[in-house]
């Protein structure tokens, strides 16, 4: 009995080359099919996702810190432990009674709100001044 590996080296090489060729062709076919499939899926998905972004609460013209709030169709700003003032606001100018649309500040959504310093910091009083007419101090009462 002759061992198959004892065929001529030329026949063996040719058979191997043919098998390799078939495998390469099938791999190419599969790759093409996969690429076409991805393209089809992407073509269908991409517009839907774009629409979703456009409808997302953060794209609406409100300055609410609560995304769900600005998604309310009635323009009312329902906040849950959040306020509707612009994030760059000064606390004292918060206007919760103003319509949400009036508080629109799209460019400030990502800004971290802060307590703001005075325009002019306190200065030492001249020693020649008369006694201060009023004082900031701990107070009794209130609440």
């Amino acid at each position: 009995m002759r061992d198959r590996y004892q065929d001529s080296p030329g026949e063996t090489r040719d058979a191997s080359v043919r098998r390799l060729g078939r495998l390469t062709w099938r791999a190419t076919q599969l790759g093409t099919l996969a690429a076409v499939g991805f393209a089809v899926v992407f073509a269908h998905k991409a517009p839907a996702e774009t629409t979703s972004v456009q409808n997302s609460p953060t794209a609406t013209p409100t300055a609410s810190a609560t995304p769900a709030a600005s998604a309310t169709p009635s323009q009312h700003t329902v906040t849950r432990a959040h306020v509707t003032s612009s994030p760059t606001r000064k606390l004292a100018v918060a206007q919760p009674s103003a319509p949400a649309a009036q508080q629109a500040a799209p460019t400030t959504v990502a800004t971290t709100p802060q307590l703001a310093p005075p325009t002019t910091p306190p200065a030492p009083a001249p020693t020649t001044a008369t006694p201060a007419p009023t004082t900031s101090s701990a107070s009794h009462g209130g609440g």
Partner: protein
């Protein structure tokens, strides 16, 4: 600076004093009327001690929405913003904590009762559960939560009153509500002269206050928070009104007094209150925010932050 050129008036309001300075003395009468109206409105909306106030109605609704005025909505909005900006250190849901500590009536009544406390501390932190629908003018306070706007409503009243008076009279004005100061309109040429004190032994008019320092301010607000002013004794223990929301007990702070200058009186009040609660971290926090502050330690030593001025040397002129 000739103080006599101001129009000045001091009265009692919101359980404390209200001092009004106007640059033009002839505007004083109109300014008083505007201030009185603002204080009455804030009191009716935000008082924790008035059963008929909007605050009490909202807290007694059992977690149901309650219609509120734009003023109350604004005051609550400011308080919730304060909580958010301080990570809950200035918490409007500490009302029950204060009540359980004996501050359940006005301060005079709280100070008279020295008996042992019978209720446990109540931590805050439920401000996140409050719902404010500004458009509908509705507020929903969770059942069992007692809101206290004391930390911010007084400062808001000062800001609102000063702005209204300046707009109406056209002259510079300073409003001081129990140490929470707001200025608006054009200041005097030298600025507004203001004493800063952490003296606990004074009456409600500040006439007898020994100022630790005198500064001038030209805009915005200035506020002082202290563990000394509103302090009372229960069961042999001294308590004060600045609550650490995490424990529901008076804040154990390294500072006894914090004075902060800011763009508004509300901002200054929020920062000074949080400064007491935050303790040592306060210095870095205020510096990061560029808020000028004067902090007084328990031993009386003073720390100045973010450009708060030192005491002027003797003999220096304007």
């Amino acid at each position: 600076m000739p103080a006599t050129c101001y129009g000045t008036h001091t009265s009692e309001a919101l359980g404390t004093f209200a001092t009004l300075l106007v640059k033009d003395p002839t505007a004083l009468e109109d300014a008083r009327g505007l201030l009185d109206a603002e204080l009455a409105a804030i009191d009716a909306a935000c008082s924790r001690f008035r059963p008929e106030s909007e605050l009490r109605r909202a807290c007694a609704a059992g977690g149901r929405p309650v219609a509120v005025s734009p003023l109350f909505a604004e005051a609550l909005s400011v308080a919730l913003t304060a909580a958010r900006l301080t990570d809950g250190d200035v918490d409007p849901t500490c009302g029950q904590a204060l009540a359980n500590l004996g501050y359940d009536l006005d301060f005079g009544s709280a100070r008279r009762d020295t008996g042992v406390l019978t209720h446990p501390p109540v931590p805050g932190g439920r401000w996140r559960e409050i719902e404010l629908d500004a458009g509908r003018g509705e507020v929903t306070v969770p059942d069992g939560v007692l809101v206290d706007l004391g930390a911010t409503a007084k400062a808001l009243a000062a800001d609102r009153a000063a702005a209204k008076i300046a707009a109406s009279t056209g002259c510079g004005v300073l409003v001081n509500l129990g140490g929470d100061i707001s200025v608006a309109g054009g200041p005097p040429a030298e600025g507004w002269l203001v004493g800063v004190a952490d003296d606990a032994n004074f009456d409600t008019t500040t006439a007898s206050v020994a100022a630790g320092q005198v500064v001038t301010i030209r805009d915005g607000g200035l506020a002082t928070s202290s563990v000394l002013g509103r302090a009372w004794q229960r069961g042999g223990v001294w308590l004060h009104h600045i609550i650490d929301p995490r424990t529901g007990e008076p804040a154990r702070s390294c500072w006894r007094t914090a004075t902060v200058a800011a763009a508004t009186c509300v901002d200054a009040n929020v920062a000074s209150t949080a400064a007491i609660v935050r303790g040592e971290q306060t210095v870095g926090w205020l510096r990061g925010l560029r808020l000028p502050a004067r902090l007084v330690r328990r031993d009386g030593s003073v720390v100045r932050v973010a450009g708060w001025p030192g005491v002027a040397p003797r003999g220096s002129g304007a």
